[in-house]
Amino acid sequence: MKPRLLVVDDEESILSAIRDYFEPRGYEVDCARELEEAEALLSHIRYALLIADLRLTGVQGNEGLELIRFARERSPWTRTIVLTGYGSSEIEMEAIGRGVDAFLQKPQPLAELAAIAANLTGRDA
């Protein structure tokens, strides 16, 4: 069975690029643009991996961390990667404290992202 992947970002271009890159590499990719949508999907589908932007369209600025906490509680089998354009180490520490598997800076080359994803889902890249 193909590993299922949930990508959460508020930029359409990023969602489609990641989908186009990962699907040919043997993943089933779902996308979400908002926190609530992502939470609904996580509640119903068993994802192998979640790739989330740190900041979604909301105002609080770190919905990504919110989503990680949700995933930890409701979907403990899901591995997590957080992407951010903001290089603040405090947030990184917080994310790692919440059990994030990888915390990556944008712009992240997709080849590297794919290697990490493969590693986390136990596949060959």
Binding site: E11, A17, G61, S88, I91, K106, P109
Partner: protein, 653 residues
Amino acid sequence: MPKTREAAESALRESEERLRAVVAALEEGIVLYEADGSVSSCNASACRILGLREDQIVGRTSRNPSLRAVREDGSPFEPESHPATITLLTGLPCSRVTMGIERADGVLVWLSVNSRPLRRRGEPDPFAVAVSFVDVTRARSSEREMRWRADQHSVIADLASHALEGTPLQELMEKAVRRVTDVLDLARCGITDRLQLHLRAGVGWPDKDDFPKGADHPGAAVIVIPGRQRSWGFLIAHPRPGGRIGSEETRFLDSVATLLAMAAEREREQSSRRRTESRQERLQHALRTSAQEWRLTFDALTHPLLLVELDGRIIRLNRAARDLSGVDYDKAVFQHVSVLGKGQPWRAIRELLPQVDSADAEADDPSIQARDDQGRTWDITMSPVTSPDNQKGVVVVARDITDLVRLQESLRRSETMSAMGALVAGVAHEVRNPLFGISATLDAFESRFGRRKDFRRYFDVLQVEVKRLSELMHQLLDYGKPARLDLAEVTPDEVMAMAATACEPLASRCGVDVAVRSDGGLPQLHVDRGRIAQVFQNLLENAIQHSPKGKTVLFRAERVDGDRDGVRFAVEDAGPGFLPGDLHRVFEPFFTRRRGGTGLGLSIVQRIVDQHGGEVLAANLASGGAAMTVFLPLRPRRAGLTGPPALAEMVRG
């Protein structure tokens, strides 16, 4: 053999008895303590001195409840510090320990105590301790008396010399009160205010009513301060509770009162003379005094200060000026300022002097800043002065403002930085999201069509440009990073190695060697390891990129002792060096002459070094290459001068 043994035993007994007889007859008290601390025997003198029977001493320890031992200051003498105890524990003798014993009959006797360990041959620990003591109560009291008399004499002598020297009466009275209270160990002591009041009024005769009433001062001694016609006032001494003032003390107080009377008389005479003295005389006196005060003040100033004539001849110079120039007073006075030296601040003083003459009286005093060869910045101000006899001169002050200048520079930089840092970091964040959109799309595109040869060169161009932009964004964010240092003890060699290792791939790509040389034994620094490693990495990367293939970049470190202790690091390359006009601009953000460079590397270096209270300098080597020097102090001069506010807090996402 038994005969021999008997003879030996009897000889022993005899000798013991003889010894016992000698000990018993001694004036000294002798007490023998066993190893367990109990008394095994004592002589008659010991009983007599301590006021106890033999059976009250033998078998007891130094904690004998019938005796209370005190020290000279009256505090209890703990049994642990008893000479017998100390000798038992340490095996060392104690000599002439003064100990007060409150006997059961209430008499306090003072003893001078010695203790000696008694050892058997070949055994290190004493099996007993012999304590001997003499009664020094009488000697002690006469010694005290002597000391007391000597104290009194010194008080009188001291007060007399002050009275003769013309110490102001008020001061003399305060001094007398303090010393008298001290030497007689009084509860308090006072002089009736009348004395001062009457003096001020120019009369000096208190009324009868001013005489202190005995009832107002119970137990106090009231001593008259005699006057030529009537008394000046009264010295009133209050003894401590239980104490009293005897005839001995009263005589002493009388002497003090006489001295005070003398001083009061003198002051009255002076005040009446002052009224008749001409204004001129008083002025001269005031001038003399102020000249003296001025000279003292002048020398006390830490800034070099000169008084010179307009032609540059030195009239006066203070101690700091003499110390700085190394020229003695005699060698400098009436000479031209050029005798003080060729360097700064003296050169600037010479150059500035001519401007003083032409200076408009209303204009500000001319000033100039000069940097000496030790890197100190001097601020030199010249103030023209005219003496009463119309002589013109200039007061020159040279202030060392090195710290101030450093602080200002760093403050200015950090202000620019916080404004720019906020903007830059904000822009960087906003750019990184669309940039990721582009790079991710490019990656997806390439993964699908990358094999098509006609697309390949477009991918290559786009990927290089995206990488360049990413690098710029990364550096911009770094530049705008809040200044929060993670300080730790760091070995210089360790950070140097970290940076050199990080630069290895670049160095091998460029065909340049990096040679790390350190003095060895460099002191540890209190720095942010990661940030300082980044400083060196940035410097090394620059040096590598500017060095021709096959050359070596030298990275070295040395200890600096002096004005500020620390470590100086240098990165020297074999490249073309800086253009002379660029030297002062290289730390400006976005200043770069290298194609593809962001122009932020050195700005980041400067910022981090600043945060550590250090200094970074750009220079050219005589051989032509560039040399970047970083000085890091062992102890930062100041803390908290950080750059932009916490940007991460402002714009974090």
